[in-house]
């Protein structure tokens, strides 16, 4: 499978269409494996969708004492295997992205499996199918990236842990990796020196000055 997911938080409108559609995937049994969170509703309407990033070396799988979490040949990290899952929740606590959830009714860890029952048959995952804005997109790197003005990033640094993922974040930055320090603070070009906020030159001033170059067709 050449296709993967591209998550573009800029585009997310917080409608949770993905959350409702995830339940419809046959193997999910009515449970949604995707999360959409407000960043800080008191300040902004910005929201962030979270799917499994499908790490190259998945932490959830590494910490599983029962070897219940398998990564398949396509690099998709599956939900825990029911006969093996010990209910220990190591994976829930260890995942740096906070993706796996423990389903107490089913005594099972469940997580986004990139709708493997659909994607293995050439169908798009439910979340990417329904997402109105393309905040969650599914396709090959060559199909998706040239259409976007954001940068695909799949290297993440959590304190001392380096994680490479099958899923890309699309970011309005020129950084090559997403760095989060020990306190969970994002360190990147987007985070500005607080003293500078509001003093930067807006694109619109430049554009209005230069008049007719107001588009980039």
């Amino acid at each position: 499978m050449k296709e993967t997911m591209f998550i573009d938080p800029q585009r997310c409108i917080g409608c949770r269409s993905c959350v409702s559609a995830c339940r419809e995937c046959d193997t999910h049994k009515g449970y949604s494996m995707i999360f959409v969170d407000y960043i800080d509703r008191s300040e902004t309407t910005a929201t962030m969708p979270t799917v499994c990033m499908h790490c190259t070396e998945p932490t959830c799988s590494l910490v599983c004492p029962a070897d219940a979490i398998k990564q398949n040949d396509d690099g998709v990290v599956m939900s825990a295997l029911k006969p093996r899952c010990l209910d220990c929740r190591n994976c829930v606590n260890a995942c740096p992205f906070g993706v796996p959830k423990y389903n107490s009714a089913m005594h099972l860890q469940m997580k986004c499996d990139m709708c493997y029952d659909r994607t293995s048959e050439g169908l798009m995952p439910m979340c990417a199918s329904v997402c109105p804005t393309g905040a969650i997109a599914f396709g090959t790197y060559e199909q998706i990236v040239p259409l976007r003005r954001t940068k695909p990033v799949n290297a993440h640094v959590f304190g001392n842990q380096h994680v490479e993922t099958k899923v890309y974040l699309m970011l309005p930055t020129d950084a090559d990796e997403v760095k989060v320090d020990g306190c969970g603070v994002f360190e990147g070009r987007v985070a500005m020196d607080p003293g500078q906020v509001g003093t930067e030159e807006s694109w619109i001033d430049t554009q209005v000055e230069e008049s007719d170059k107001s588009n980039e067709f």
Binding site: I13, Y38, R41, N215
Partner: protein, 744 residues
């Protein structure tokens, strides 16, 4: 007579109850017997979807990737829409209210009771003593039938529809400026526009799938100017946000046009050859310098300047608007002031250069074209025009003197109920107790009726006041066409039979007419026969459907009207040849002075209350407040308050406070957010009874469109003691940040 006496029992029996899984539960590997391509029952985007049918039950959906508008995309309402079909709250048989209780009745009993009451009331008070209130979520066939039913079936002049609460200001403005009421461009033009102006349109929450086109435009390098009193998700994503005071759109639009005129960015040639009225309009626009506009609207002058330059200098551009500018006593003025910008720059009638209102309801466009509007006959014809009357009477075979004159708008119809002129009422596809302004007055109107009939598939807040409730169908149980907000006629297909004894709405309406002795005019056996009569009735009208057929819709993925002949493929873009629909083929400018909202804030009521929607609920919520997933995301209304305003009264986030206007008051949890203006508060309106935002809103109407002013009234907020709190909202979560966190 029609009071609600046993509310708790009614709610126990008919809901809203939450239902959240497909028929037979969540199952893997279910055998699907058929896949029915159709469209979403909700908003005006009319996304394509496939319904999955197993053992004669709708058990799920599958994205309809091959439908070009949404390519499989759906919002959360669309995803969960199928859960309505087998919802345990469905009305399964006719109900007659006896001693305040709804009792099961046979169709014959219910229909005979209706006809005997209607006949008695009409013989005592005259034909016009019955009011008919219809809706635009019905298929076009049904909306056509409703107009014919009121005029030819009952002979009453009083019919109107809930599109009156939706986009009539846009319709009136479009007719005045262009001579026709339809979005000028297909949405496939949006990605071609360098600059988009989105005025009063929270597309992210109200037309989620339209965002597909908006982001395609963005990917092409396009820019958005968003005009909204709140920083909605759409405003946040835009390039320039003009955060105006509610009701001051005329000032902002005139201000932008002022900049465009000053900079010489108008299209003199287009204005001279293709339009009328510029000479009268220009002097008024010249008064609205960015400073003047800024003083009225509260938008910084520099932003008005930037917006004017950005749109004025772009080669292509589109202006789109929605309820935010239309729900005002000067709603038509607001619309016309934006159209003035379109006309002055000549950005119309080309790919990527255009204009359109984003109609709200599923069939908001089709539902306002074929005669269920108080003053309208099929094909956007006028009931006041002798030629139009003659044309329609000939097709119906109705003597001309039997065709009633124009009626009144729905809010005025409810006034006439209180005045005693309307004694009996039949409503279908609406829920006035939630969606009409000043609900306390609406309740008095319903309680004063002698006889009240309601057709719905769920017991709505308004159905509770009825004497007879008849069970109709959801969209998945009948076929017919709808017209989306871009003017595309699409086909809704039937997936399963109606449950229990529920009947197709057209059958019910026709059966009442027949029992009233008007069977001569009502001989339809199926929706297709109604559509065929509609096609002929609309022929030669502005909304000409004559060349539209069910087969052509299937073949072309929809047909844009006008489509005058069987060979015609339809008209995706209007005004391609720069000809408009006024007799001289020119468009018309309108000089618009700023008037503002009917109620402006004062010492007693210092805040502006504006109302609106959330993405998880649809209109009055009768359909969506029963779907577990949607209710979990937004279980009850809240009031958005700016932290500065909250601080003055020491209001915390999540605290329940009282909101008061001149008409009523309600208690809502506060959502303290910087995304709203300090002088403005916002409440979403999808709930009824003591949760209704419309207890507070102003029923004052626009003089032309008769739309109420939902988007601006004067209000105040008060802190309340916990002992005064009503017991509401079991298991609330997600209405505010603090609550959402606690809920987790």
């Amino acid at each position: 007579m029609s009071k609600v006496e046993h509310l708790e029992q009614i709610i126990d029996r008919f809901g809203p109850h939450l239902h959240d899984e497909p028929y037979g539960g969540w199952q893997a590997g279910r055998v699907i017997d058929r896949v029915v391509p159709t469209h979403c029952p909700y908003c005006g985007v009319q996304c394509g979807m496939n319904l999955l049918v197993s053992e004669e039950h709708v058990v799920g959906f599958e994205p309809r990737y091959d439908f070009p508008v949404n390519e499989g995309k759906l919002c959360p309402k669309g995803v969960t829409a199928y859960l309505q079909t087998h919802h345990p709250d469905r009305l399964l048989y006719p109900l007659i209210k006896k001693n305040g209780n709804f009792e099961r009745a046979s169709w014959d009993e219910a229909l005979d009771l209706i006809t005997s009451k209607f006949k008695a009331i009409q013989s005592k008070y005259g034909k016009d003593a019955i009011g008919v209130y219809s809706g635009s979520s019905l298929t076009t066939e049904k909306t056509y039938l409703m107009g014919k039913f009121a005029r030819a079936g009952l002979g009453t002049r009083y019919i109107d529809y809930n599109g009156r609460l939706c986009m009539v200001s846009a319709a009136a403005g479009n007719n005045k400026a262009f001579g026709i009421d339809r979005s000028a461009n297909p949405w496939s033009d949006i990605p071609l526009a360098e600059v988009l102006i989105l005025a009063g349109a929270n597309c992210a929450e109200t037309f989620p799938i339209l965002n597909k086109f908006l982001w395609q435009q963005r990917d092409n390098g396009g820019r958005w100017i968003v005009i909204d009193p709140r920083e909605t998700p759409t405003a946040r994503q835009g390039d320039l946000h003009l955060q105006l005071k509610p009701g001051t759109d005329v000032a902002v639009a005139n201000g932008m046009l002022n900049v465009i005129v000053r900079e010489g960015l108008i299209d003199e040639d287009f204005i001279r050859t293709k339009t009328n009225g510029w000479d009268e309009t220009r002097p008024i626009v010249e008064k609205f310098t960015p400073d003047v506009a800024s003083q009225i609207s509260g938008v910084p002058a520099a932003k008005i300047e930037q917006a004017g330059l950005l749109y004025g200098r772009a080669k292509t551009g589109m202006i789109m608007h929605a309820r935010g500018i239309e729900h005002h006593t000067n709603g038509v003025d607001n619309v016309l002031s934006y159209i003035n910008i379109v006309l002055a720059t000549g950005k119309i009638g080309d790919p990527g250069r255009g204009y359109g209102t984003i109609t709200g309801q599923g069939n908001g466009q089709g539902g306002r074209e074929h005669g269920q509007k108080a003053d309208q006959l099929p094909g956007q014809r006028s009931i006041n025009d002798p030629e139009d009357r003659k044309h329609v009477c000939k097709i119906w075979g109705l003597p001309e003197d039997e065709l009633p004159q124009a009626g009144v708008s729905v809010v005025e119809m409810f006034d006439k109920m209180r005045e005693g002129e309307i004694r009996a009422f039949l409503s279908i596809c609406n829920n006035g107790m939630v969606s009409l302004p000043d609900t306390n007055n609406i309740r008095r109107s319903l309680e004063g009726l002698e006889f009240n009939v309601n057709i719905d598939f769920f017991m709505s807040e308004s159905s509770r006041y009825a004497d007879v409730v008849l069970p109709g169908t959801t969209w998945s149980e009948d076929e017919g066409v709808t017209t989306s907000a871009e003017g595309r006629v699409v086909k809704i297909n039937k997936a399963v039979d109606p449950p229990g004894e529920a009947k197709e709405d057209w059958w019910i309406i026709q059966e009442i007419a027949r029992r009233m002795g008007r069977e001569k005019y009502f001989q339809f056996n199926n929706p297709r026969e109604i559509f065929d009569e509609l096609r002929i009735a609309s022929k030669g009208g502005k909304a000409d459907y004559f060349g539209v057929s069910y087969e052509k819709i299937d073949k072309q993925n929809g047909v844009f009207w006008p489509c005058p002949t069987e060979e015609h493929i339809g008209t995706p873009r209007l005004f391609d040849n720069k000809e408009f629909y006024h007799p001289d083929k020119k468009a018309k400018f309108h000089p618009i002075e700023y008037i503002g909202a009917d109620e402006k804030p004062d010492d007693d009521f210092p805040l502006i209350l504006t109302s609106g929607r959330v993405v998880y609920q649809y209109l009055s919520g009768n359909q969506t407040r029963r779907i577990g997933f949607l209710v979990q995301q937004c279980p009850e209304p809240y009031v958005e308050i700016h932290p500065e305003t909250a601080l003055k009264l020491r209001i915390n986030d999540g605290e329940r406070i009282k909101v008061i206007s001149r008409r009523g008051e309600g208690v809502f949890p506060a959502l303290v957010v910087r995304t709203i203006r300090p002088d403005t508060i916002f409440i979403p309106y999808h709930w009824g009874e003591q949760l209704a935002a419309n207890q507070l809103t102003n029923p004052k109407l626009d003089p032309t469109s008769k739309i109420p002013e939902y988007k601006a009234c004067a209000a105040k907020i008060e802190k309340i003691h916990s002992r005064e709190l009503p017991i509401l909202g079991k298991g609330r979560k997600g209405t505010s940040l603090s609550e959402a966190q606690r809920g987790k």
